[in-house]
């Protein structure tokens, strides 16, 4: 079995938004909507401040509430590495999946179906990295199989301090941020 996920090095990310542009181009994401985005998270008290820049998207959760709440089975887990996808012509546009996502990673495509990051499954099936990973100029993004202990992503997680987003929501997100 494979379990695809991402590791993002926040020490390297500069928030250039190349990943955002690559995603929009690769997946023809409509105007004013984004499947991935940049967050700047500043914490602490001056002068002891800590800033984390990170690229965010659907976390392709292992315990995906968007899949469970879907009344038609449009939201589903793909056989290939647990990628969470939406079958467009099964989606009725009820928006339950938008409400169920603690990351607010989904949106309604102008054509009416729920849309979100697919980890560029059409590229992954060909053995390629998702578009955002492949264009990153600082090489801060890594895509791979967490079930393989020898994969680069597994090794990075084992060797570096990291965190995921809102793990307390219980969805088991599969994107990890190196700090």
């Amino acid at each position: 079995m494979m379990r695809f996920g991402m590791v993002i090095d926040t020490k390297k990310c500069v928030g250039c938004m190349d990943c955002v542009v690559a995603c929009k181009t690769e997946n023809d994401v409509p105007e004013k909507l984004n499947r991935d985005w940049i967050v700047q998270d500043v914490r602490g008290k001056n002068p002891d401040l800590h800033m984390e820049i990170r690229t965010e998207r659907c976390n392709h959760c292992d315990n995906p509430p968007c899949v469970y709440c879907c009344p038609t089975g449009a939201s589903h887990v793909h056989d290939l590495g647990g990628i969470v996808l939406v079958t467009h012509d099964l989606c009725i546009g009820c928006k339950a999946c938008l409400a169920s996502c603690p990351y607010d990673a989904r949106f309604v495509h102008p054509e009416g179906y729920a849309d979100k990051c697919t980890f560029c499954v059409h590229r992954v099936e060909k053995g390629l990295d998702p578009a955002c990973v492949s264009v990153c100029p600082t090489h801060c993004m890594y895509f791979g199989d967490f079930d393989d202990p020898n994969s680069q992503v597994s090794k990075l997680l084992a060797s570096r301090k990291n965190h995921s987003l809102i793990p307390e929501a219980g969805t088991k997100p599969q994107i990890f941020y190196l700090v």
Binding site: V20, V42, C69, I92, A99, E168
Partner: protein
């Protein structure tokens, strides 16, 4: 200092979720109202009151079907991919409350039609005598009639419960993530239905009975709202913040004034005086209860969308 900036500004999602407009609260209210009407109809049928031509259970099934159809139309209007609605009925997803709801909405209609046929309204029995014949035959089978009453109560309960579970299963919205929501919506539905039936009933004893029942439901609703809030306030930081959105945040005026004050407490006082014969029964209190029930769904749906899981350290 905590500062969080994002480049995302997706429609319907940012700055806070606003995917559901008026259609969903209206539908949830109607679902609860019709659920209550089915339970009341079922109870009257079970108790044998259907034999009385003036019984309100004679008109309730038809009214219920019309009102529920209007609610389902509102639900349909909310869908973004309308031409694919039929996809709901090609599958059953056990983990999805919305899938349960889609099927519950289908099975409540035959139950309401059955209760309609037990005691057909005069207009129909005169215009379509064959319906009256079905009704006469049905009434000869007393156990079948009782079972129709029980089925109406059960399916009505299921419909009312589902409207709450629909929201409470969406754990990403902390305000909805409460196991009290089904009870709140069911009791509120029963209360609104009692108020509605109180207004349409012809028999004085039925009006009196439903006013008393409504008082009971309103008192219960106050307790359920209290427990709902206590549950939130004794949970995690995001849940506490969610409760504060209702108690002292932007939805506080609507919650305190319209839901609790004008929707529950004041009509309860008016109806308590009315059932104790201190004042006359007027439609004022029932109308306040019905509008209060609708505003309750509005407040819960809107405030729930306003709440979300955020990193607890970002919270004040």
């Amino acid at each position: 200092m905590n500062e969080y900036t994002t480049t995302r500004h997706n429609e319907l999602v940012d700055p806070s979720l606003h995917i559901w407009g008026w259609e969903i609260p209206v539908y949830l209210f109607i679902g609860g109202l019709v659920a209550g009407m089915m339970i009341i109809t079922g109870y009257f049928i079970f108790k044998g009151r259907y034999k009385d031509k003036a019984c309100v259970c004679r008109v309730l099934p038809l009214l219920g079907m019309i009102i529920l159809s209007a609610g389902m139309f509102a639900l349909f209007l909310d869908l973004e991919h309308k031409l694919y609605t039929w996809r709901l009925y090609l599958t059953f997803k056990v983990a999805s409350p919305m899938s349960w709801g889609a099927w519950i909405l289908i099975v409540v209609y035959p139950a309401m039609i059955a209760s309609f046929l037990i005691n057909v309204p005069e207009y129909f029995s005169k215009k379509f005598p064959w319906i009256d014949k079905i009704s006469e035959k049905l009434q000869q089978h007393k156990y079948a009639v009782k079972n129709i009453g029980v089925i109406n109560m059960l399916l009505g309960g299921l419909l009312g419960i589902y409207t709450g579970v629909l929201l409470s299963a969406l754990g990403a919205r902390p305000l909805w993530n409460s196991s009290m929501l089904w009870l709140l919506f069911l009791v509120s539905g029963l209360s609104a239905a009692s108020a509605f039936v109180h207004m349409v009933a012809k028999r004085v004893d039925e009006r009196e009975l439903l006013a008393k029942a409504d008082n009971g439901f309103l008192i219960l609703e106050i307790f359920v709202i209290g427990l709902f809030i206590i549950g939130m306030l004794t949970s995690t930081k995001v849940h506490i913040q969610s409760a504060l959105v209702l108690l002292s945040g932007i939805y506080a005026p609507a919650f305190w004034v319209f839901v609790l004050g004008l929707g529950i407490v004041i009509p309860l006082i008016i109806q308590l005086l009315a059932v104790n014969h201190k004042i006359k029964h007027t439609p004022i209190a029932p109308i306040m209860v019905i509008v209060g029930g609708l505003i309750l769904r509005y407040v819960i749906v809107y405030a729930g969308q306003y709440t979300r899981w955020v990193d607890a350290s970002l919270l004040p």
